[in-house]
Amino acid sequence: MYKKVAGGIMLLSVITNFVMAQDEFFEPGFMVGGYGELHYNSAKLGEADASKIMDFHRFIIYYGYNWTEKWSFKSEVELEHNYVKDGDGEIELEQAFVNYHTDKFGFQAGVILPSVGLLNDFHEPPLFLSVERPEYSKYIIPTTWFGNGVALYGQSGGFSWKAVIHEGLNGDGIASMWSQGIRGGRQKGYKSNAKELLYNGRIAYTGVPGLRVGGSYSTTKALRSEEGAKPIGVSLMETHVKYDANGIMAVAEWGNISFTDHSVKSSTGYYVDLGYDIGRMLNLKGKLYSWIRMTDINPGVGHDSEEGMHYSKIMFGLTYKPINEIAFKLDYSTKTYSEKEADKVTLVNLGVGYNF
């Protein structure tokens, strides 16, 4: 017995050593980062006077700590609209998870992001051309979609994948905000109901420099609080592609949310960006993209008021990036609803965004 204990101590010390030993190229420590964006928005509905606002839309602090090469903690805290009072503005813990990482796969547990679309995982302002995030990333994919859960991820060759088990969606929120897809159903990690979970899987290919092609599938049953009401079945399928090389910026995303037991049969939409770095022709040190975006969003397919919410939008813009981490943006767009009587909306946005 005594020898077994002593042998156990010996074995434990060796195992501990293998687990804890680091090479000279790694030291435990913390890391701070962040991103943010200031916007000026002007919106004109038909012939009415334009509304004009300035908004420091997002301020995010990233904090991480690395215990070992494999074990780390990562977090992001967000302040939206610069101020929180009486239900306006938000403070959110968008990410806070323990991460275990090896060369082939990894594991996360905490407040995490389902891997859906181009912008839910990577949403720093210099990564997209427009001042505001694409509306597709609001009404089809409810970016930033975050909550409590666990994830497995991995990479092999040019392919990467992620599988997520996540808190589900609130069916009441989806029902009451039917014109915004599943956005109203996010639980945001607040004492989330875990009776039904969300299952999400994504695969992407990045083997060619500048190219990313991927797709994901997510499914859950969104619970209702009303007695006898059936949960809303939700299945989100999306695909995305981005090419950013040789001065060309081309982005396309398409997604469809199918519902059961809901007043809406599906929410569907897409957008396409085409841009070119004209800074190359002007011999600028940074990058100056001239670009166009076409968007179509139909959040209420099969709903009585479908035509009133289905719109298309065309947007033109200029985005200047003096360095890759800072972007100054200007865009002009018109939004046209399928419903013929609806007024056209004209929008002008200016903004600056950064990440570090």
């Binding site: 005594y2 020898k3 002593a6 042998g7 101590i9 010996m10 010390s13 060796v14 501990t16 050593n17 293998f18 030993a21 680091q22 090479d23 000279e24 190229f25 790694f26 890391m31 980062g33 990233y62 991480g64 690395n66 090469e69 494999k70 780390s72 990562k74 991460n99 990482h101 060369d103 990894g106 996360q108 181009l118 995982d121 990577f122 210099p126 990564l127 991820y153 990479q155 060759g157 040019g158 990467s160 992407a204 990045t206 083997g207 060619v208 420099p209 500048g210 190219l211 990313r212 981005k242 950013d244 090389a245 040789n246 001065g247 770095d277 190359r280 990058k287 990036k321 890759n324 981490e325």
Partner: protein, 196 residues
């Protein structure tokens, strides 16, 4: 008698416990030293041999980069040195220098990225690779297709992501860090290659 006998047993046990702890400590130190001596350095040497062939000899040296040189290079490439010393190799075959290799870190989003750059005798990049990537995202910078973009590069090349170097969607921080890191080592090799 029983008490004496019992006391002897306790002494023997104490002796055994001390002996086991000493052995454990020895094994602890030995296994740790083996792990530190191996690992990343071995991985780098494997890659060097797979590139140049097993018949070459490699001469390993740790090189300290003095603060003044760090400042000069950092200013040019807009990236600080992560460490004050780098691992270097001189690759020889039949008394001829076939090339050099430098192993260094750059800062990723929250963890260091350890990478190796191989140079020809004139200091031109002939190969680059990620030796250890520790982040959950951005590991795509280890793909050979992306690293191929640096072939033939020297310190005087542009090294600008989005212009001569294509980025990777979802790996922006890593792409910028590694591009500047390779640029940094391209300057460093010019200064240190004659001392290796």
């Amino acid at each position: 008698m029983e008490q004496i006998s019992g006391g002897r047993n306790i002494n023997r046990r104490r002796f055994s416990l001390v002996r086991y702890l000493v052995y454990s400590y020895g094994l602890f130190i030995f296994s740790g030293s083996q792990l530190i001596a191996g690992g990343i350095k071995d991985d780098a040497e494997l890659l060097i041999k797979s590139y140049f062939g097993n018949e070459v000899s490699v001469d390993f040296k740790k090189v300290s980069v003095d603060p003044e040189l760090q400042r000069t290079i950092s200013k040019k490439v807009k990236q600080r040195f992560y460490r004050n010393e780098v691992y270097t190799w001189k690759i020889m075959k039949d008394d001829d220098i076939r090339g050099y290799a430098i192993l260094d870190n750059v800062k990723g989003k929250s963890l260091p990225i350890t990478f190796l750059v191989l140079f020809d005798p004139n200091g031109q990049v002939i190969h680059s690779a990620v030796i250890k990537y520790r982040e959950p995202i951005g590991g795509e910078i280890g793909h050979p297709n992306w690293n191929r973009q640096f072939l033939g590069y020297t310190a005087d090349s542009l090294f600008r992501v989005g212009q001569d170097i294509d980025g990777i969607s979802g790996a922006t921080i890593s792409v910028n860090a590694m591009t500047r890191g390779i640029h940094k080592l391209s300057y460093l090799i010019q200064t240190i290659k004659n001392k290796l």
